[in-house]
């Protein structure tokens, strides 16, 4: 497994979370889930030990996209939906950088849907953190492409009409090589997923369930409610049997139709999670367990496979061209082809 951070210079000094904080006042609403994600990222980055100047956060537009202003690294707050495209140009020309994309459900899945799917299929070395709060926050509360059908919002007083995207299913369809889901309020899980995402060579997509306490409060309440959460949260771990429930009494099994069903944990043939399988059908079937009522929701790494990255392949073509014919000579180039001399 090649290390995506091999070319990124390391800081000889130990780092702390506060090294990654800026002097800018954080302007999210009090109680916003974004605070927890910011703290988790700032808290986890010192583990990587990368030089701060070689870390870049690029965002689009939306509440979450203010994120780069609060990170004491290089940052680029760009335009709506386009962060993956801008980051692709940066990451494919600078192998010495760790490039992170911060986006939201509207930014990544609505206006920027095209760039998201193409960066996933290209497998550029980007870490995409998709803050999914299932609502448009910065424009003050319209439904988003992950809102449930029938959502009553300012723009849909009689309920929204369109079916939502399932970001995990979408990413699998787009041939993503790393797909995970985590929750803003579960710092330990969030940081574990971030760690794996950072170390994955290629595009990592991390969907983070994030609470917007102003326009869509408690969107993920069942997953956070101590009474329910253990019964409905399925923690995916590669190589481990998929068992869940407060009493570890439930498990998943594939039925003959290929979809997944919940069975008692002692049932023969329960599923063992294989995030590394080339065949995406298990990951896809797991992603279809989601339901608006949160009957059971898998979190963790759905899929993590190795395949060539766009940036490395691009670099290799440049190296190969030079290896074959030597570095370019401008005078030779200009005088190439059919020429004639006038004396």
């Amino acid at each position: 497994m090649s290390d995506p951070l091999a070319l990124v210079p390391k800081d000889p000094e130990p780092q702390k979370a506060k090294d990654f904080k800026t002097d800018q006042e954080v302007r999210w609403c009090p109680g916003c889930g974004d605070y927890a994600i910011l703290a988790a990222v700032q808290g986890f980055l010192p583990e990587l030990g990368l030089k701060r100047e070689n870390v870049v956060f690029i965002s689009g537009i939306g509440c979450s996209s203010r994120f780069p202003y609060y990170m004491n690294t290089y940052g680029f707050h760009s335009i709506h939906g386009r962060a993956p495209a801008i980051a692709t140009g940066l990451a494919s020309s600078r192998p010495d950088l760790s490039v992170w994309v911060i986006t939201g459900d509207g930014d990544a899945l609505s206006i920027g849907g095209n760039h998201l799917i193409h960066s996933l299929r290209r497998n550029v070395n980007l870490k995409i953190l998709l803050f999914n709060n299932r609502i448009y926050g910065l424009t003050k509360g319209q439904y988003s492409p992950t809102s449930e059908v029938g959502k009553i919002t300012k723009s849909t007083p009689m309920g929204s009409l369109d079916s939502p995207f399932n970001p995990i299913s979408l990413a699998i369809g787009a041939e993503a090589s790393f797909i995970a889901r985590t929750i803003d309020s579960d710092r330990k899980h969030l940081q574990g997923v971030l760690r794996a995402a950072a170390q994955h060579n290629g595009t990592s997509l991390v969907e983070i369930y994030q609470n917007c306490n102003i326009f869509n409060d408690d969107a993920f309440a069942p997953l956070k409610d101590p009474q329910q959460r253990d019964d409905i949260t399925i923690r995916l771990e590669h190589g481990q049997p998929i068992i869940f429930g407060a009493d570890h009494d439930k498990a998943l099994r594939r039925n003959t139709a290929g979809s997944i069903e919940v069975v008692p944990a002692d049932t023969p043939g329960i599923l063992v999670h294989d995030a590394h399988s080339e065949d995406p059908s298990l990951a896809f079937a797991l992603s279809r367990l989601d339901s608006p009522s949160f009957d059971h929701t898998p979190i963790g790494i759905y899929r993590q496979i190795q395949r060539p990255t766009y940036n490395e392949l691009m670099r290799e073509q440049l190296d190969e061209a030079i290896a074959q014919k030597g570095p370019g000579d401008l005078a030779d180039l200009l005088a190439s082809g059919d020429t004639w001399r006038i004396d």
């Binding site: 210079p9 800026t22 800018q24 030089k51 701060r52 100047e53 070689n54 870049v56 690029i58 780069p68 202003y69 990170m71 004491n72 690294t73 290089y74 940052g75 680029f76 707050h77 760009s78 335009i79 386009r82 993956p84 495209a85 801008i86 980051a87 692709t88 140009g89 940066l90 990451a91 494919s92 020309s93 600078r94 010495d96 950088l97 095209n114 760039h115 193409h118 691009m314 073509q317 440049l318 190969e320 061209a321 030079i322 014919k325 030597g326 570095p327 370019g328 401008l330 005078a331 180039l333 200009l334 005088a335 190439s336 082809g337 059919d338 020429t339 004639w340 001399r341 006038i342 004396d343």
Partner: protein
């Protein structure tokens, strides 16, 4: 041994010729024209070309929409246009004849492939009777040549299909024309050897067809005269033929080399700009990265992202593509990063006519963004001038930390002319001047250079200069988010002043007024340079007095432009749009310029501009 007496053929001297090859889009007319051009360039004539083809790859055979043509003007002296009207038309079928015959002047030579003039083919394009027989072509010198059948016959000995043999008819035609104008043939033979290296039988057949065409010219009585056009006396040096798109690509490679910045091209295929992507993708040895993006927006986005990282970010497009890029170009304005945006203009609006030329994106380049978002605009004036324009765009983009738009057009992109290859040392050096260390107490990403008003370009990886940029308004100096009213007003004015200040860093507008007595100035921009120059020469040759100036920098204008405008009592502004430069000049300088505007998807003809200028002089 008895031999047939070789006909004694006259050789006539000409000073210039315009030839047009026309056929179906599948007949290989562009290739034929290209080869004739290379032969002509190698011979040393000055030349100018105009490929004209449909957007459809293979429109229905034998129909008017499927006609593809290639016009070449070559001369023993300096010329500036591909010529108004062909002296020679090669028509490979009735559709090619019908689509082009109206452009022929009386007495022109018309070489017709009679094999394709069947009743059915004639009827397809609406000929009730054969124009070869009904007298309608009497004003021309018609050479009826069964090109297809003669080619097939010449290739009988080769082990190839009849279809492949027929396809070689364009080489037969090329051979015939090469004989007619005494062109050197070695390079075409070499070209065919390379092109068909993997299909030796096809290669030999094409070479044989080419030679058969030449021999036919020598022996047939249909051509009693052949022509010589002596080499032109151009300044000494090494030359090559170059198209506008090729020159842009070479200019970008040169700009990368002269700046030490790796070139990153983000592009989405679009006619007629795609050839820049194709060409640059060959130059990986120069560290050029080419990224074929998922759409126009991603293409410019990736280029801007690469610029943020210290590359020379470039994007290329045309037509609707430039509209799609507007938002990202404005982000480049707000973040003050170098970016080169090449718009090879084509006929619009919307899809318009993708393969046809136009100059109607000027106002979009100037103003097509939300907010006050000034962008320098540069327009090359000839195919070879695209090389220098690309380097100039890079110089301004890097020095002033700004997006720069290059307005080329379809005519420049595909047209070609001889280019005196410059020495590398003569090209301007471009200094990136990256910020490397904090000056003073803290790094101020929007602290400006007092002369240029450019901000520091601090790229990721530089310790101590970590900073955040974005599309939100920034506080002067610190670059922090700011909604302060006075700061916004200041920043709007600073960005404008930065672009306006480039006027001090570009050459003044040069006026060509040999008599010094002209009342009338003709002022153009971009790809109309050749036609305007040819028209001005004709007016002067006829005794008229006219001054000529041509704008390369459209934003900012050269510092002396107002003075130039006020030095003439009348100013004619020909444009292939409805008066966009005229609007800018009137709005800014209150000079009532006289527009001449035709928007046909075609370049101007020298003759029409001659009349326009003469009318203004006479009025």
């Amino acid at each position: 041994m008895e031999t047939d007496p070789q006909p004694v053929k006259k050789v006539q001297q000409l000073d210039r010729v315009v030839i047009r090859f026309a056929g179906d889009s599948g007949d290989g007319m562009q290739l034929t024209g290209d080869r004739f051009t290379q032969e002509t360039a190698a011979f040393g004539n000055d030349l100018s070309t105009w490929p004209n083809f449909p957007a459809e790859i293979r429109a229905p055979a034998g129909t008017l929409p499927g006609v593809s043509s290639f016009q070449l003007h070559f001369a023993d002296h300096d010329i500036v246009t591909p010529g108004d009207a062909p002296n020679v038309l090669v028509a490979m079928n009735p559709a090619a004849l019908k689509a082009n015959v109206a452009d022929l002047p009386r007495g022109a030579d018309l070489i017709v492939n009679t094999d394709e003039f069947s009743k059915r083919a004639l009827a397809k394009v609406g000929y009730g009777s054969s124009p070869l027989e009904d007298g309608s072509l009497d004003e021309f010198r018609v050479h009826s040549v069964p090109l297809t059948s003669m080619t097939v016959k010449a290739l009988e000995a080769f082990d190839i299909s009849k279809k492949d043999a027929e396809r070689a008819k364009n080489m037969f035609a090329l051979g015939l024309l090469s004989w007619l104008y005494h062109r050197p043939t070695d390079a075409t033979v070499r070209f065919l050897e390379l092109k068909f290296a993997k299909k030796p039988e096809i290669m030999k057949a094409n070479i044989a067809a080419f030679q058969a065409g030449w021999s036919f010219g020598e022996t047939t009585e249909s051509f009693s005269v052949s022509y010589e056009i002596k080499p032109a006396t151009l300044p000494p040096g090494l030359y090559r033929n170059i198209s506008g798109n090729m020159a842009l690509a070479y200019g970008l490679v040169a700009a990368g080399s002269r700046s030490g910045l790796p070139v990153f091209l983000g592009s989405y295929p679009i006619t007629p700009a795609s050839d820049i992507l194709h060409e640059l993708s060959k130059h990986k040895r120069f560290g050029v990265r080419t990224f074929q993006a998922e759409d126009e927006i991603a293409a410019v986005g990736a280029a801007l992202g690469a610029s943020f990282g210290g590359s020379l970010g470039v994007t290329t497009t045309s037509g609707p593509g430039i509209s799609l890029k507007s938002e990202t170009v404005a982000l480049g304005v707000a973040t003050e990063l170098p970016l080169i945006v090449i718009d090879v203009q084509r006929a619009g609006p919307s899809t318009g006519m993708p393969t046809k030329t136009e100059q109607a994106d000027l106002l979009q380049a100037m103003y097509g963004r939300n907010g006050e978002a000034p962008v320098p605009v540069i327009a090359p004036c000839t195919p070879s001038d695209c090389f220098a324009a690309a380097i100039e765009a890079a110089r301004i983009a890097v020095k002033y930390r700004t997006p720069v738009i290059i307005l080329s057009d379809g005519y420049l992109a595909n047209g070609s002319e001889p280019w005196q290859i410059p020495s590398v040392d003569s090209l301007p050096e471009i200094t990136p001047g990256f910020a490397t260390a904090v000056e003073g107490e803290e790094f101020l990403p929007f602290k400006r250079d007092p002369d240029t008003l450019a901000r520091p370009w601090a790229i990721p990886g530089t310790p101590g200069l970590e900073h955040r940029i974005g599309g939100i308004e920034k506080a002067d100096g610190t670059g922090n988010i700011s909604y302060d009213p006075a700061n916004h007003d200041l920043m709007v004015r600073l960005r404008q002043a930065k672009v306006d200040g480039i006027a001090r860093d570009i050459p003044p507008l040069a006026v060509d007024d040999p008599s010094g007595e002209a009342d009338v100035l003709v002022l153009g921009w971009g790809g109309t340079y050749g036609a305007i120059t040819a028209a001005v020469r004709r007016v002067r040759a006829a005794g008229g007095k006219v001054a000529q100036a041509h704008l390369r920098h459209l934003n900012p204008f050269p510092a002396n432009i107002e003075e130039v405008l006020r030095s003439y009592s009348r100013v004619v502004v020909p444009e292939i749009n409805l008066g966009q430069l005229a609007l800018l000049l009137r709005g800014r300088y209150l000079v009532d310029v006289i527009g001449y505007n035709r928007v046909r998807g075609l370049p101007f003809k020298a003759a029409e501009l001659q009349d326009v200028i003469q009318d203004v002089i006479n009025s």
